[in-house]
Symmetry: C2
Subunit: 279 residues, 2 copies
């Protein structure tokens, strides 16, 4: 598995780099971004926080707009930001911003025309960490976070792979995609109309049916335009109660769905993960 | 002078807002962005840091990518980020990224076809502060900073208006535009070929000919692709020695010309300005 460097820039004493590689899971060339803190070295490898972005994003949005590097450098945590879908001319797409490229929903698609490339679940859970751990001075210790569609990704992937991650956090996550327009559209297309197959990619369904051993932190702005129709954090809380799981949901007064919100609380999320990554 | 709100988002306890207004100096509609820290109110107005961006930028680059709000909120400083040139269909432009729209060079153009709109110097020095001080809970106490072409703007405007600003800082500034390709191209077009008229918009010329009473901080990455041909910080240091002015130039090892560099040191610039804004 080889990597090609696309860009590199020093930041906060560490390095931000973008790489491309041929993805086996996704059957296309993919790009991801990495922040390595200044203390990362072969002699002292660092843990990794995986960040999953939302609809329409690439590996760049979080890295350019979140302002996360100062705290990550201070705490000695690497950050990996993958793209949000397979890419390339032969990858199926849709005119909508919420389906196809930029909208992979972190699942393994089973339906035509999506199944040949849209395997973001396998990519995030298996291929990408293996690649990162092979090429960079990082440990196998990892946590996962994300925003909106990426918050859905972080919650579902974290809950389904509790042995692999130390902690989960999310900003403004789609908590119950089976019951919101974004999720219903995507799941119908990617997984087909049988809703039984949807449950394994729905954070509220997963959390209702099995207790989480992982610490979970969710921040949600109460001025978020998508709150009531698409995000529904109350459903996640109800689910957590059903399985007696612990989850901290913080409703943040006045904040919207943007990276200004993420920038406001990302330091607290990095500190939250640091506690468990270093435990 | 009336303002129209284009966007607003809560960030770090304060507010980021974009406004449009009809500019008299520039003879067109203009947009600017404002960060107001949480403690700003009519009863306790706050000082303002003006940020001037570089070539190709708008009011958005700094506000989205610099990660400046946490420190500005903590220290109680407002930030105003104007656009980098006049805008609109009837504003003269050029195919190059370094002339015309997005490349106003913070001067008052005297030549055809630029003179009818390109009066960024007047806009930044007079019109914009008057507008900001009329509409928002800020004091008349201000400092100025910027990046690249905006670093040139901050240095020249600060040096020429020392009674108006408390401190000046710059990231990777064009320090001696009379002696670099970007500056020579822009000044020939905007000011004509008589170089006598160029001196008043050249930071090194200004600093060589008159002592600065203001504290000046400059950060420059030594891995910046533009360092030798366009930026020439050594010329600014030579000029400061000629007039016995104080200036702190920090060469930052390994950093390039990007916002990753700015993000790495913006907190220190805000703290630097805060010391003088609150003195």
């Amino acid at each position: 598995m080889s990597l090609e460097v696309i860009s590199k820039a020093k930041v906060c004493g560490g390095w931000h780099k973008q790489y491309s590689h041929k993805s086996i899971s996704l059957n296309c060339d993919m790009r991801f971004a990495l922040f390595l803190p200044p203390n990362a070295s072969a002699e002292s490898p660092v843990p990794v926080l995986y960040w999953l972005s939302g609809l329409t994003c690439t590996d760049e949005n979080f890295m350019q707009k979140a302002g996360a590097f100062k705290k990550a450098a201070e705490l000695g945590i690497a950050i990996v930001a993958p793209d949000t879908s397979p890419r390339g001319d032969d990858v199926a797409d849709d005119e909508g911003y919420d389906l196809g490229k930029g909208a992979g929903f972190y699942l393994n698609a089973t339906q035509t025309p999506w199944a040949s490339h849209y395997k973001m679940y396998d990519y995030i859970v298996k291929e990408l960490p293996a690649l990162v751990e092979q090429h960079f001075p990082v440990t196998q210790t990892k946590s996962i976070s994300g925003h909106s569609m990426g918050g859905h990704g972080a919650l579902t992937i974290g809950l389904k792979n509790q042995e692999q991650y130390r902690s989960i956090s999310a900003f403004s996550p789609i908590t119950n995609p089976m019951n919101c327009p974004w999720g219903q559209k995507a799941f119908t297309q990617y997984l087909g109309s049988n809703k039984e197959f949807w449950r394994e990619y729905d954070a509220s369904e997963l959390l209702a049916s099995a207790q989480s051993r992982l610490p979970i932190l969710v921040d949600q702005g109460d001025a978020d335009n998508f709150l009531q129709e698409q995000l529904k954090p109350e459903n996640l809380i109800t689910a957590a109660k059903q399985s007696d799981s612990e989850i901290e949901l913080r409703m943040q007064a006045g904040y919207d769905h943007s990276y200004f919100f993420i920038q406001s609380f990302i330091d607290e999320h990095i500190a939250f993960h640091s506690k468990y990554l270093k435990a």
